[in-house]
Symmetry: C2
Subunit: 222 residues, 2 copies
């Protein structure tokens, strides 16, 4: 039965990916453990990218719209998706969220998944890029202990670097083991709280939407 | 189908609970996000309880036996349970683990679940006590954002209290919201890294196995 559910999920995800691609919207699936600092990273990213790059956000949580309120206060359009007892977003939730959010053409769309280092790895939601956010307070052993989510990731953000001096965490060991699981991984080390190390992350995000694009009409009907 | 799976799980869990109860073994299901410090808490607990209280551990992880090695080095018998792509322990894994581990009569048994604030909440594994370990670096909003796991918890351990001065975290707000979700919650604030605040936790654990018990034989065949 799980196979059939995944087939249906992948069909919806493929539709969303096509729809997003046509409009030049780059969707990033932002995953990570509870408390990794995903929302804080998005808040600061929204503020610092500013008006130069249009950004919108789908916020996934089990309960509450607190994260959506934080993103809205930071200045981006946002739709909250609550999963109830569910442990991950799926493609249908995201497709419904897209209808509500109506992200702009040529924009970045962050989809903040439910805080969980396991289940989100299994579900395609139509994203172009998979980002794992990991706090240095979680310990440097996580890539090998939760390999599935790292294996499918394009980007690893090591967050809360301001706490490195207070916790036992070997950055080199963590990155080496993460790359052993996912060799082409792009990595950033930053603190979304203090802002240290944000610039390379912001530059990379801008590069995602900087490439010139054809008009949607041209690409829809070639 | 999920209902039938849960029925079967609950049947196995009930068997384990009976088996453990007969032997005066108090099983604690230790849950929490990845990096909350569950293993570190158990390492220090094993070391500090010392020979006065017999302790054994079932270690749940997606991959690797690193945590089991750490617990063994701390001095307790341990069996590693790896779930592969699974996001939680279930009653059958734990029942199989018990056959391998053979915990002593009148002992404490810690079952460290897979790091996850969502899925473990749904699965009874035959425990007597449910413990949620939460690091203060995760943010004080977690009880309301992940209410299911807090609702079923008996105990909340706020770990990494040594980092409180470096992170935005309102202990009172967190505990108030956790008690709103789970009114009878017993709470401990400690640092498993530095050892601060461990004593009330250790005293409480000792109280769990201190009560006099009848012999197993008497209780098995009344």
């Amino acid at each position: 039965m799980q196979h059939r559910l995944l087939d249906e999920n992948d069909r919806v995800a493929a539709n969303s990916r096509f729809w997003l691609g046509e409009r030049g919207i780059v969707a990033l699936n932002v995953m990570g453990a509870p408390g990794a600092g995903k929302t804080q990273l998005l808040e600061r990213t929204v503020r610092e990218l500013g008006p130069s790059v249009p950004v919108s956000v789908l916020e996934g949580d089990q309960q509450t719209d607190r994260d959506a309120q934080r993103i809205r206060a930071a200045g981006a359009p946002v739709t909250q998706l609550t999963t109830g007892s569910g442990c991950h977003l799926n493609a249908t939730m995201v497709a419904n969220g897209l209808r509500d959010l109506e992200p702009r053409e040529g924009s970045l769309l962050f989809v903040e998944n439910v805080g969980n280092l396991v289940c989100p790895a299994l579900f395609d939601i139509g994203e172009a890029v998979r980002v794992v956010v990991m706090s240095v307070t979680e310990g440097d052993d996580k890539p090998l202990k939760y390999p599935h989510i790292f294996r499918t990731a394009d980007v690893l953000v090591l967050n809360k670097s301001d706490l490195l001096e207070h916790v036992p965490f070997d950055v080199e060991r963590c990155l080496t083991e993460a790359r052993r699981v996912a060799p082409p991984l792009r990595t950033f080390e930053l603190s979304a709280l203090t802002g240290d190390g944000m610039q390379p992350w912001l530059d990379w995000l801008q590069s995602l939407v900087r490439a010139p694009r054809q008009s949607t009409a041209t690409r829809t009907r070639p």
